[in-house]
C-alpha cells in the first residue's frame, strides 16, 4: 500500500542502513560489552563508534554522552539528577508552559514536593519572553529547563540568549530537551551554555527504545538509578547494543543543510496554500525562521481534528491531531492553549510533520485531499 507519512514528529521509519547495521548486531555481534572476551570487546567498540558519531554531530566530547532507554528517560535522568544534586543551594526551578509531558510531569512532581516551580508563558508564536525569565531568575534558582524545538508547533526557543542570561548564576544548571531539534536545527551547546541535552533515536529514523543525554563534564548531577557502572552509572543495566548502534548509524544520515532548506520551503509553501485556499484557518507554527523545518501546526474551524485525521487516513495520509475528539471535556493541548487560540479553532488542530524524502507532488496530493475532506466535513459538522 502506498501511503504518505506526515507524522514524523511522532516517530520515523527506520533508515535501511540502520536496519542492516542492527540486524548484524542482533545476529552476530550479540556479546555483552562488559564481557572480557572478544565478543564483548567487539560490542564495546561498536558502542564507542556510536557515541563518537553523536558527539561529532552535536559538537561535544564523546565522553560527555551517555545512552538511555528513551528521550523521556534522558529527561528524567537530567532533571531529577540536577534537582537532587542542587536542592541544598536553592528551591526554585523554571521551565515553560509548552514543554513535552516528559519534562512537565517531572516539574509537577517536584511542585508537590514543595519546590517553587515557574512555568514561563509564551507569546502567540510560542516564544518565551526573555524579560520574564530574567525577572524570575535569582540565587534561589537551581534549574532552568527549556525545549529547543516544540513537538507540536515546531517553534524554536532562543537558546543562546537564554544561556547567556543563566551564565552569571552559580549552582544553576541549564537543561534542554533537544528531542525534536536533533538533526533538524543547529544547536550550539557550548555557545548556549547548555549543561544537559536530551536526544532520542526514533525521531531521526533510528530505533525506538534508545535515547541519549549530553552531560557537561564540568557539572555533577545525582544518579537517579542505581546498579553497575554502564553509561557512567547514570543508566545502569546491560547496554541495548543494537539500539545504540542503530542510533549511531541513524545520526550519520540526518538531513544536509540543503535538504533542510528544501524541507522548510516545502512546508512554507504548503502552509501558504492552506492559508490562501481554505477559509477560517489559523497557522499555529511561526512561518518565519522561528520554527523547525519539519513541523507545521494548523487549526481549522468547524471540523474536529480527530475526524479529519481519520478521514485523511482513508486516503492513506497519516498525520496527527493537536487534541483528542471529545465533546465532554476540553482536550485542547496545553501547547495550543498556551499560545492562545480563539474558541472556534480549539477542536480542529492538525500537525503535519515532514521528513527529507517528502516531495512537492506528495504535498500537493495531501493538500487536495485535505481541502476536499474539510469541505465535506464542514458541510456535515458546520
Amino acid at each position: 500500500m502506498d501511503y504518505i507519512y506526515l507524522d514524523n514528529a511522532a516517530t520515523t521509519k527506520l533508515h535501511p542502513k540502520v536496519i542492516k547495521k542492527m540486524n548484524n548486531m542482533l545476529s552476530n555481534n550479540f556479546g555483552n560489552p562488559s564481557s572480557l572476551h572478544r565478543l564483548g570487546i567487539n560490542s564495546e567498540k561498536e558502542i564507542k563508534n556510536a557515541r563518537e558519531n553523536i558527539a561529532q554531530i552535536i559538537k561535544v566530547d564523546p565522553i560527555d554522552i551517555i545512552f538511555t532507554g528513551s528521550g523521556t528517560i534522558a529527561n528524567n535522568i537530567a532533571i531529577k539528577g540536577a534537582i537532587n544534586r542542587l536542592k541544598k543551594f536553592g528551591n526554585k526551578i523554571i521551565t515553560t508552559q509548552i514543554e513535552h509531558k516528559s519534562v512537565l510531569e517531572i516539574f509537577k512532581y517536584y511542585e508537590t514536593q514543595g519546590i517553587d516551580v515557574i512555568y514561563l508563558p509564551v507569546n502567540k508564536d510560542g516564544l518565551i519572553d526573555i524579560g520574564y525569565l530574567k525577572k524570575e531568575l535569582d540565587d534561589d534558582t537551581i534549574l532552568v529547563s527549556i525545549m529547543a524545538v516544540n513537538n507540536e508547533t515546531g517553534v524554536i526557543q532562543p537558546l543562546e540568549k537564554i544561556g547567556n542570561l543563566l551564565n552569571s548564576y552559580e549552582n544553576l544548571y541549564f537543561h534542554v530537551d533537544g528531542i525534536q531539534a536533533l538533526g533538524k536545527i543547529e544547536v550550539n551547546i557550548k555557545k548556549a551554555n547548555i549543561d544537559l541535552f536530551s536526544m532520542s533515536a526514533h525521531k531521526i529514523h533510528g530505533p525506538k527504545g534508545i535515547g541519549s543525554l549530553y552531560i557537561n563534564k564540568d557539572i555533577v548531577i545525582d544518579k537517579i538509578l542505581h546498579g553497575s557502572n554502564q553509561e557512567k552509572g547514570f543508566y545502569p543495566g546491560t547496554e541495548n547494543t543494537p539500539g545504540i548502534v542503530g542510533f549511531g548509524e541513524a545520526i550519520k544520515h540526518i538531513p544536509t543543510n540543503d535538504e533542510l532548506h528544501k524541507m522548510k520551503n516545502l512546508k512554507l509553501s504548503f502552509a501558504k496554500k492552506i492559508q490562501n485556499n481554505i477559509t477560517d484557518v489559523k497557522i499555529n507554527t511561526p512561518t518565519n525562521n522561528l520554527s523547525a523545518p519539519h513541523i507545521l501546526n494548523v487549526s481549522f474551524s468547524k471540523v474536529k481534528g480527530e475526524v479529519l485525521v481519520h478521514s485523511l487516513e482513508n486516503d492513506n495520509i497519516f498525520i496527527s491531531t493537536g487534541s483528542a475528539c471529545s465533546s465532554k471535556k476540553d482536550t485542547t493541548s496545553h501547547v495550543i492553549k498556551a499560545i492562545g487560540i480563539p474558541d472556534k479553532y480549539k477542536e480542529g488542530t492538525l500537525r503535519f510533520s515532514l521528513n527529507k524524502d517528502i516531495t512537492k507532488r506528495q504535498l500537493d496530493y495531501v493538500f487536495e485531499k485535505l481541502q476536499n475532506n474539510i469541505k465535506s466535513l464542514r458541510k456535515i459538522m458546520g
Binding site: E306, V307, H310, N314, A324, C325, S326, S327, I380
Partner: protein, 391 residues
C-alpha cells in the same frame, strides 16, 4: 492432579419436561469453558447434581464456574468409597487443614444420605465423624458448634460413593446461556449495554451483539474497544458472533435530510431496524438494549415510544430498574467497566443535536424522516455487515 467439583443448579430443577435440555446445556457450557485448560476433563450428571473432574488449575476452574449462568453454587469435593474408615480419614484431613496453632475453631458435620441402604443414617454419621475429629485434634484447637460453625464439613452419601466438602462458592445463578434462544444486543462502547447483555445471558439468552461503526466519525479504537467488550461477554456464553455494521453513509444521510433536533431519535430508529433485519436472519427472538428510563434525552418515555414501534421483535430493557451506580457496580463485577471507560470517545457526538427533542411524537418523527432515501443504504449495511467470531 485431578480435582473433583460438585456443581449445584437451582432453577433448572423447576423446568419440568425441559429439565434434561437445560441440564445438558449447562453441562456443555461448563465443558466448553474448562476445555481450554484441560482437554481430558469429564463432566457428568447424577440426579440433582453435576460433577466436574479436571486437572485444570483450581483457581481457573473456580473463575470459570463463577462466570457460568445457570450454576447456583459449587464445591471442590473429595470422592471416597462408602467405607466408614475412609470417610473418617478424609473428614479429619479437612479439619486438620483448617487448624491454626494459636486459635480455636468451631465445626460441625452435616451429613445427608440419599442412599437409604447405607448402614449408617445421617445422625449416626454426624455423631461418629464428629467424635473422630474431637478425639484426634487437641481440644485447645477445635470444638463443636452446631449453629454457627467456622467450618461446616458436608458428607453426602450417594449410591456408590461418599462426597465430602467444606467450601461452597456461589455462582451467578439464573439459567444456562442459550437455553432461551438468541437475542440481539445493541452494543456500544459504553457502560450500560454490556451489562444489559449480561442480564440477558443470565436468563438463558444467547446474545448476538451488534455494533454500529461510523468511521471516520468514530475512531477504529472504539471498534477495538467493542471487540474487547464482546470478548469479556463471551466468557459467560463461551462464544459470541459480533456483528459490526458500517453506519457512516446512513449517518450522513440522516444528518443531511432530517431536522437537527431529531437526529438521535431517527438514528436509533434506523439502528433498531437494521438490528432486527440481522437478528431475524439468525432466528433471533428479541432485541436487548442498555436503555434506562430518563437517563438521556433519547430515553424519555416519549422517545422510547417512538423507537419501540420500529421493530416487530420485542425490545428488552433489563436495566430499566437500575440506577447508574448500580449499573456501574455490575459492570465492575462482570469485568466490562475498565474497558468501557477507556477514553476513545464516540465521535458520533459530532451528530448530537444542540437541543434534542425530548417529547417527540410518532407523527413528528415520520415527518422528519420523509426525505430520507435510505432503503438501499440499509440493505447495503445489512449485506456488508462484518462478523467477528469470538471464542
Amino acid at each position: 492432579m485431578e480435582n473433583l467439583f460438585l456443581i449445584r443448579y437451582g432453577e433448572i430443577g423447576l423446568k419440568g419436561e425441559n429439565r434434561s435440555l437445560f441440564e445438558d446445556k449447562l453441562l456443555s457450557n461448563i465443558k466448553y469453558s474448562i476445555k481450554k485448560f484441560d482437554k481430558n476433563l469429564s463432566v457428568y450428571k447424577t440426579p440433582g447434581r453435576i460433577f466436574l473432574n479436571t486437572s485444570a488449575d483450581k483457581d481457573i476452574v473456580k473463575e470459570s464456574l463463577q462466570k457460568t449462568p445457570g450454576l447456583v453454587s459449587f464445591s471442590p469435593v473429595e470422592k471416597v468409597d462408602l467405607d466408614i474408615n475412609e470417610i473418617k480419614q478424609i473428614v479429619l484431613k479437612i479439619a486438620n487443614s483448617h487448624i491454626k496453632d494459636d486459635s480455636k475453631i468451631t465445626f460441625r458435620i452435616s451429613a445427608r444420605r440419599s442412599n437409604k441402604e447405607y448402614k449408617y443414617d445421617s445422625m449416626d454419621l454426624q455423631y461418629d465423624l464428629g467424635e473422630h475429629i474431637i478425639e484426634n485434634i487437641d481440644e485447645d484447637n477445635i470444638k463443636v458448634d452446631l449453629h454457627n460453625p467456622d467450618l461446616d464439613i458436608n458428607v453426602e452419601i450417594r449410591k456408590n460413593f461418599a462426597y465430602i466438602y467444606s467450601k461452597v462458592y456461589e455462582g451467578i445463578g439464573g439459567l444456562p446461556a442459550g437455553t432461551n434462544g438468541k437475542v440481539g444486543l445493541m452494543l456500544s462502547g459504553g457502560i450500560d449495554s454490556p451489562v444489559a447483555g449480561f442480564m440477558g445471558m443470565k436468563r438463558g439468552a444467547e446474545i448476538i451483539p451488534i455494533y454500529f461503526h461510523s468511521f471516520p466519525f468514530t475512531s477504529d479504537r472504539t471498534k477495538e474497544k467493542v471487540i474487547d467488550l464482546a470478548k469479556v461477554l463471551a466468557n459467560y456464553q463461551n462464544k459470541i458472533d459480533l456483528y459490526i455494521v458500517n453506519f457512516t453513509e446512513i449517518l450522513k444521510e440522516i444528518n443531511d435530510k432530517c431536522p437537527d433536533k431529531l437526529l438521535t431519535i431517527i438514528m436509533r430508529r434506523l439502528m433498531l431496524k437494521i438490528t432486527e433485519m440481522i437478528i431475524e436472519k439468525q432466528n433471533g427472538k428479541a432485541i436487548i438494549t442498555g436503555e434506562s428510563i430518563g437517563q438521556v434525552a433519547s430515553q424519555t418515555l416519549e422517545a422510547i415510544k417512538v423507537t419501540n414501534s420500529v421493530p416487530e421483535l420485542p425490545i428488552l430493557r433489563p436495566l430499566v430498574g437500575l440506577n447508574k451506580l448500580q449499573i456501574i457496580n455490575l459492570a465492575k463485577d462482570i469485568g466490562t467497566y475498565e474497558i468501557s471507560i477507556r477514553p476513545y470517545e464516540d465521535c458520533c457526538t459530532v451528530f448530537v443535536p444542540n437541543s434534542p427533542e425530548t417529547r417527540p411524537t410518532i407523527n413528528q418523527v415520520l415527518e422528519g424522516e420523509k426525505n430520507l432515501n435510505i432503503n438501499d443504504l440499509i440493505k447495503q449495511a445489512v449485506n456488508n455487515v462484518e462478523i467477528i467470531n469470538i471464542n
